[in-house]
Symmetry: C2
């Protein structure tokens, strides 16, 4: 039973995969709003109602695409960061940043699905949470490494976190055990700065404003790295 399932189950898995593939292609070209179950069915030579045998609703198909997207982005970040020597913490941060940016620019519509405005009636189910944490896990890991290596040198005159933030962001804290609060909040701030930039760039806010966006992004991420206390090796 486990090794070779029934013919029906195999063709079902095959068709499910084909549906998501076609849907992802439509998503890439038309955007999230232009994703149409009927168009997917048409391209498969099926009738629209048959799709509902595989995905109970359009939202469930969207969920599948979102989970795939989080995993693709997470994998890109993991690979980009892993290509850097472990002791070069600034390099690991920059590599992770560029991996996010490169993936987002290469897959703008999928990125919009992950980090843009939520789709109208859509509520992310719990399944997406695990895949969603892969990118920030990389950030937490490299900060924790840097802290353990004594390579974190926060700038002078940096304001200390107020007391009401003492026991906050538990989930975020778990990703970098042992890291003190002031460093933790600079990391959180850097994380939002990264995605803030990528959002602006992917959604076109930098058109006709910045030309060499890659260089500007690189510099901005170096600035936030300095705030985090990561200095060149």
């Amino acid at each position: 039973m486990t090794a070779s399932r029934t013919a029906r189950e195999r063709v079902r898995a095959e068709l499910t995969r084909e549906i998501t593939d076609i849907a992802r292609r439509q998503l890439a070209t038309e955007g999230a709003g232009g994703l149409s179950l009927r168009a997917v069915a048409r391209e498969m030579g099926m009738v629209s109602s048959a799709i509902y045998r595989y995905f109970p609703s359009r939202d469930d198909l969207l969920t599948a695409l979102i989970i795939d997207g989080y995993n693709a982005l997470g994998e890109a970040v993991e690979q980009g960061e892993a290509a850097c020597p472990r002791e070069n913490h600034l390099g690991r941060w920059l590599a992770a940043c560029h991996a996010v940016r490169d993936w987002a620019l290469a897959h703008p519509h999928e990125y919009a699905l992950l980090y843009g405005s939520p789709v109208p009636g859509y509520h992310a189910p719990q399944d997406t949470v695990a895949a969603r944490a892969r990118d920030v896990t990389v950030l937490g890991g490299l900060i924790a490494d840097a802290w353990r290596a004594g390579a974190v040198h926060l700038p002078d005159r940096l304001p200390a976190p107020p007391p009401e933030l003492a026991s906050q962001a538990g989930a975020f804290r778990q990703l970098m055990p042992g890291v003190p609060d002031d460093v933790l909040w600079t990391a959180a701030s850097a994380w939002t700065a990264l995605y803030g930039w990528v959002n602006f760039e992917v959604f076109g806010q930098f058109n006709n404003v910045i030309d060499d966006r890659r260089a500007a992004f690189d510099h901005a991420m170096r600035l936030t790295a300095t705030t985090m206390g990561l200095t060149p090796v």
Copy 2:
């Protein structure tokens, strides 16, 4: 002609305004995707085709709402920042940040229209550009003021902008004349960090992660202020 136009023109302006008002209400409750010309017409007791006398297409109605949104946000930022003493540059920055956040949290769907994923087939016409710059103009103004007052003290060990960024971001540079490049790029970075945070918060990425989001936001904006060289008075 100028003071009192014909009755027809006045009722036309009135109806146009009523359409945008109803549309804005629908946008606030349903989100951008749920905005329907037919629903607006229904609520006005008109027939759907009549709406097209006032807005040639759904996108034109969206454009009107977007321009209104940029102006509302810009005005909120201007007012928030203006309430702070001119010489307290850090306070002005924090006031502007909280104004953005407060407005975004109060009008999440309108904010999504401005800074979220672009609406599928929609391309922003040139009209939106002027209104779009109001918030960043405030930022540029306070940085320029701080620079002129000699109140900008960049942190040590901050990396200098690479040479390829020397003549970039001309539009951004115009907002803060006389400000040197290193300060300018910290300001650009702070700008993206601000909207990165607000994006995350409005779009729900901080749910179940950070509880006291206002305090965390305030601290994050103080961190970026330090990177910009704005210190407490």
